[in-house]
């Protein structure tokens, strides 16, 4: 090795010592703190959604009825909404806000049932769209977009999967 190389090696070593000393001695202050908010440990919605899609009514299994509603025809949609309202009403979720919706592979999102803050205008003869119904921002977001609720996927009669979402909140 040349003389300059030894020089650089020694200086490099000294710098390394300085870095370690600085790293250990210097007080960096408080570490960055992130609050994730409340961790939701309630699993009521998961079991409810699972058993809802497995439920059978006189008109067939709920999962099948959601699948058959892909085109959003009022002959399938209105009975589906009525049955769902009845089933979820039976669960006595009156004091809670809930929204049940299905998103089809063609991009159409069907609100199936809702209560409290997310109550649906179930009497409407047409599917909801952002243009048709002017809800307040949160409500619109919750009703017309998939959120962070419990989800189950069902196979579509066409290609792809139908995502069924159920969101339950205490009032």
């Amino acid at each position: 090795m040349r003389f300059e190389d030894w020089e650089d090696l020694i200086v490099g070593f000294i710098l390394l010592v300085i870095l370690i000393v600085v790293g250990n001695v210097l007080d960096y202050g408080d570490p960055a703190l992130y609050t994730t908010g409340e961790i939701n440990l309630k699993d009521e919605a998961g079991l409810l959604l699972l058993n809802y899609v497995k439920s059978e009514t006189d008109s067939g299994k709920m999962a099948n009825r959601i699948i058959l509603n892909e085109e959003g025809d009022h002959t399938t949609r209105i009975p589906l909404q009525k049955s769902s309202k009845e089933l979820l009403g039976f669960m006595e979720l009156r004091e809670k806000n809930f929204i049940l919706k299905a998103k089809y592979p063609n991009g159409r999102l069907e609100p199936i049932a809702g209560s409290g803050l997310y109550k649906l205008p179930i009497e409407r003869e047409v599917s909801l769209t952002l243009a048709q119904v002017e809800y307040d921002n949160k409500r619109t977001e919750m009703v017309l977009k998939l959120g962070d609720g419990e989800k189950i996927k069902l196979p579509s009669l066409n290609r792809g999967l139908i995502i069924v979402e159920f969101k339950l909140e205490d009032e």
Partner: protein, 140 residues
Amino acid sequence: MSGIIASKTPYYLVYVLLFTVGLIYVSKFTQVEAQYVVKLDDLKESVIVNRVVKCLSEEDKFGIMDEAKFDVATLSGCFGDVERGFRVKLVRKEASGGTPLFVEVGNTDQLTKVKRYVLVETNGGLRPARLEMEYNKNEI
């Protein structure tokens, strides 16, 4: 040698300064602490309710109630030696479902009530039912 080092001193100083600043900056990211807010009551409820649902469900069919299991011995057996106080009621949605099944075990003072959507196997397939459960928080 000292002459060479002296000529390079400004570079070394800048080098040390940059590294120190960089080190401080990076250390902020390595010292991240996350704060979680966990409600233990929710966790307790979840564990107890799921245990009861599993206890009263058909074998390997979580959430599908086995009506034959609705008795004190089965419910007590599922909780072993743990002190418990339960009041469990199964209400079928069908009007023809008959009288709701009911089981009561242990000390039933100061009960906390929860409900779960469950299913009951019938000739017409899996029909909805509501499992109303009250448990004694203080004894579990």
